[in-house]
Subunit: 195 residues, 2 copies
């Protein structure tokens, strides 16, 4: 007999301590990005990937949920930083459409990959703020996957504001300090023999 | 003090009974699609969306995990059928890269939206089998989101086999019987005033 339990995506327990040590509210994009970049650094120290994100209430500046790349420790390819922050926000709101509950901003240390771009589209988030460019992640061997070249315009046309390159050099510094596994690379996937 | 618990994506309990009543193993794509289309019909009756999916072991034909569109009852925009099936599979395998554990096929009643395309890319699934075309879902008001026009080729180039239009008319019949909410439509998103 087969059991299919609820899907549990693990959120690292140290995020709670991190939350206690950091401000609850940040009004400026720059402050929000600085927090997210510090979180990416912390995540590296904890064995995660060199990526972090967070969702803020755009009006009040309240930090709703952080997110870190926890793919390897959490054993799920869904556990990108943006997805953790967005899914935690939906869980806190108890809804699949955050736009019903206000205006929310996703701040991410690196531009979203094809997976995170797709996911953010359906969450109802209203603003995206990015640190490092996609090519900065690709420069250290991470892939962003196939995305539309005009993804920024596509988001804007859906009413999602996009701001790129905020504190880019600080976000790059975190990427460049990464010494862990480059998982799911194109090379790795194609090297496997498939039937 | 803020708590960020693990993310729990709910899997409907009736799937267990469904699993008991259906075969454990199906060797042909057509049989797999017939099962998935029946599951989409069942999901409609249970209050879900008109979409279903399943992951099979390509070599043995074993059904690893089903998936249904459970966005509205499960209160999460992540809960598309393909994501449920893929995330359950990763949970069962205990790994973020299913290609390490064999060759797996994702069978879906409708071609994947931008979110599911992005997600499947990083799971290590090796085959995608689709029923209805994207335009069939769009014909009833669901959006597929911004995707590359050559997404099929992009997947193939990564070593993911793609088969489209399997039992298309049966999959369309399920879509056309849907009378529920069309959530997260472009119109809905753009109608909201954003700061």
């Amino acid at each position: 007999m087969r059991h299919w339990n609820d899907i549990v995506l693990s959120v690292p327990v140290w995020l709670e301590t991190w939350g206690q040590l950091n401000p609850d509210r940040l009004t400026e994009k720059q402050q929000r990005m600085a927090l997210v970049i510090e979180l990416a650094k912390k995540n590296l120290e904890q064995g995660g990937g060199p990526f972090a994100a967070a969702v803020f209430n755009r009006d009040t500046g309240d930090l709703i949920a952080p997110g870190v790349n926890w793919v390897v420790p959490g054993k799920s390819s869904l556990l990108h930083a943006e997805i953790m922050a967005l899914a935690l926000t939906e869980q806190i709101l108890g809804d699949y459409e955050m736009a019903k509950h206000g205006s929310f901003e996703l701040v991410t240390s690196v531009e979203p990959c094809c997976q995170c771009l797709g996911v953010l589209m359906w969450t109802g988030v209203s603003s995206l703020v990015c640190g490092a460019y996609s090519e900065d992640a690709e420069a250290i061997g991470f892939e962003e996957g196939p995305r539309l070249p005009d993804w920024e315009q596509k988001l804007m046309r859906r009413g999602i504001d996009v701001t790129r390159g905020v504190m880019r050099s600080n976000a790059i510094a975190i990427l460049q300090s990464y010494r862990g596994e480059i998982y799911n690379s194109c090379l790795g996937v194609n090297d496997l023999n498939r039937s």
